[in-house]
């Protein structure tokens, strides 16, 4: 097993670990915004690590061109889809209050003096 194989293996396992972290975070995190936050980062970093591993292992020009294409597409599309998901969640306002929303004055348990019940208000 050469040094390149070792580097490729480490990169592949690290990319898989990013996917595992994304799955656990989507399962365990408390509200929609933090789930979207945790789900988007491994889509970029995990894919980049996997592509580095595969590029080192195969290493021909055609393969590396295709890998760069996949990485560029992920870079372009992952932030856009995350932004759209967060905007939809915010406009629907059926998500539990986020940290940014509670900072603006909705402290304490919902229902005391807050007619919105701690929910995010649309204008």
């Amino acid at each position: 097993m050469s040094a390149a194989d070792v580097i490729a293996s480490v990169a592949l396992i690290a990319g898989a670990a990013m996917s595992l972290a994304a799955g656990i975070a989507v399962l365990r995190f408390p509200d929609t915004a933090s789930r979207i936050h945790a789900a988007t980062k491994p889509q970029v970093l995990g894919v980049v690590l996997l592509m580095i591993g595969l590029g080192i292992r195969l290493g021909t020009v055609a393969v590396i061109g295709e890998l760069v294409l996949i990485v560029v597409l992920q870079f372009l599309t992952a932030p856009v889809s995350a932004h759209l998901a967060v905007r939809a969640a915010h406009r629907r306002a059926d998500a539990p209050p986020t940290a940014a929303a509670t900072e603006q004055g909705g402290d304490g348990p919902p229902g005391d003096d807050d007619p919105s019940g701690g929910r995010i208000q649309r204008q």
């Binding site: 592949l12 996917s19 799955g23 979207i36 591993g53 890998l67 996949i70 629907r92």
Partner: protein, 86 residues
């Protein structure tokens, strides 16, 4: 490479399982859309891992198509869901 395939494959499997549990349970439709996005990212990872294990490049086109379809799916779902208000 077999050991790498076993370790990384089990990580992908556990991540996909967790995302699938959130897909079934998730309180809102946005949570389900996000879980589907994670499942598609895991699918791209599995395709790339298989290409690395078998040292074959034929499946890489499928990875491109799946990542683009995932973007179209989640973006369309988000734009559809934000229009429907309660």
């Amino acid at each position: 490479m077999t050991v790498v395939a076993i370790i990384a494959g089990s990580m992908f499997g556990l991540g996909a399982l967790a995302a699938a549990v959130r897909l079934v349970r998730g309180p809102g439709p946005i949570d389900r859309a996000v879980a589907l996005d994670v499942l598609l990212a895991v699918l791209v990872g599995v395709i790339v891992l298989l290409a690395a294990v078998y040292a074959s490049t034929v499946t890489l086109v499928i990875a491109v198509v799946v990542s683009l379809l995932g973007f179209i799916g989640s973006a369309g779902l988000a734009m559809l869901l934000q229009r429907e208000r309660r």
